[in-house]
Amino acid sequence: MELLVTIAKTVLYVAAVFGVTLLHVAYATYFERKVIGRMQGRIGPVEVGFRGLLQPFADMVKSLFKEDIIPAAADRTLFFLAPVIVVASVMTSLAVIPFFNNGAIANLNVGVLFIFAMASLAVYGIIVAGWSSNSKYSFFGSIRSAAQVISYEIAMGISLAGVFLMAGSVNLNDIVLAQREQPLGMFAVLQIVGFVVFVISAFAETNRTPFDLPEAETELVAGYLTEYSGFRYALFFLAEYISMYIMAALIALCYLGGWALPGFVTRALPFLEQVPGIIWFLIKVYAFMFFYFWVRATLPRYRFDQLMAIGWKILIPVSVVNIVITAFVKRWLM
């Protein structure tokens, strides 16, 4: 009986987390369109619902009702499977993210590594999508994507190693708790180098401007998405936005103090302690989402060779130097 209650509780919590996340994803598209619209002297969606608030649902319904087109030359099984692999592996990463203290579905001791593993798994979906479409544009897009994600994952992992050294743990919950005694209550101050490397890699990891080469619209039409339409296309987009949230959440957790406020703020204004931690967490996540959109409205796109050069020649060496220095400081000076 007790076991059943535990299972039921877990299932309900999982459903709640996924449901809420999907809602956030829906409104991330709305947020993006509004923010970029403002920056470009437009107004964004206004027609569906009050101030266009129902636009995400209209888009969803539209993509659901579209004709499901599968290219004649495509490998049907893999073509079906690709979006599922991508969405499933990206959504699984949500399980280890603590939205507040001990708020993760699964408080894994290797939380960060689990997220990296799932991100790598999603690349398979992209490669399979490009390969099974049987189109040269899709093929190019997926090859680019695989190379890009693998290269930037290295830089990302190494830059996070600095945080692991500081926190003495790979558990996301412990990492947040370890930041309490830091200046400003966040690792972003002492780990500024790692932070910058991580932020740049996060853009590449999620295929966002200026590193949106795998789906570079003007070169490769839509990259690995070229042959996809309707709801399968929407699934890829869903995965992209969820992975943006996950990257934003990782940045909030590992570098910006997670759900906690900096110590001096809570000491000055003690009533802020009463606000649930998830509010601060979401504010930090959305601040980074806004940064994603801001960059998209501002920067042109890198070329593929330049992207690889940045990853291998700048970010990886810099992050390696960063962990060496962090390790030395940690061992002998602290």
Binding site: M39, G41, P210, T218, L299, P300, F304, D305
Partner: protein, 401 residues
Amino acid sequence: MEPVGVAGTETRKELTLNMGPQHPATHGVLRLTLDLDGETVIRCTPHVGYLHRGIEKLAETRTYQGVMPLTDRLDYVASVANNVGYCLAVERLFGIEAPDRAKYLRTIAFEMSRISSHLLWLATHALDIGAMTVFLYCFREREWLLDIFETICGARLTVSYPRIGGVLQDMEPAVLESLEAFTRMFPEKILEYETLIDKNRIWLQRTQGVGVISAKDAVRWGLTGPTLRGSGVSYDLRRDVPYDAYDRVQFEVPIGNKGDVYDRYRCRMEELRQSNRIIQQCIAALPEGDILASDAPELDMPISGKKELVPEMSLGNASLAFGDRVSVAPKGEIYSAVEVPKGELGFYLMSDGTGNPCRMRVRSPSYVHAGALAKMCEGGFIADVIAVIGSIDIVMGECDR
């Protein structure tokens, strides 16, 4: 997917990628076949003709004035420039001289179309390289110019505003005021575009040293306009063979030196400022007077011979029969060129004395530039091909005619 080498047989390393005619970055219906080694372009072969409408042949069946709307459809983003180019060819052929006011009005409209064409170029070029905000900024200003065109003659894109020997109608003072307000505001807006991309590291890395063509090669390939000037050759028909009011205004011809995508970009950005200057000077110096030459012949009616309706069989088959063709225009032939936003647009016209051009041939810059794509893209990456297509500012309506 083509096999990239089968065990035991020959190994093929090249992949042929067909880019276009339906592709987001080929500016219409340009088609390129790229032979690729990885992401490197080994060979680039442009194919044209997907927008061929037979404009040159159609012109032979129209009256001289009736050809005008066809010229709108050459470079449809700068239709006034084509109209003026055609009018000048006819005027030079028949020895007509437009009155001063008409010349100034044509110059104003010409430069307006240059600005609107360059704005569209900048918008799409930046979008191709990934800077999407520039796209919307440019369209915002272009909208103002299109609105002015609409007030002048009722059309926004295919305007047919000039006439042989003048212009269709005068510009109202309100229009000129609006235009003046535009020229006062515009330099600031150019700075705004430049803030976003001019010194942007990504933009510089994407454009500098890409799609290089030397001055010698550029001349050999017959490039004209900003595409040629980016390579450092100072050649501008507005200055070298002045027409309309260009000999009465001050402007500079910006040139680059490296001949890469960035230099061509800089040339066009400078030209935006110069065009703005020309419009300002023209508005200030606009003389009073006629807008259509009094000696302009009646070229808008087909022929001055008699016309009669000959009923045949039934009303459905009634046809218009013309009397004998009478010579209404001088005979002769001429090649006349103007500096349109894309380069040198030449009209070769032949008159046999009737009301229709006997032959019309167009030398369009986009066609010549499309040919040079092969040279500029070789050895670059796929992404460079996109940057190069943007930098030669190609319009397929003009290329395919």
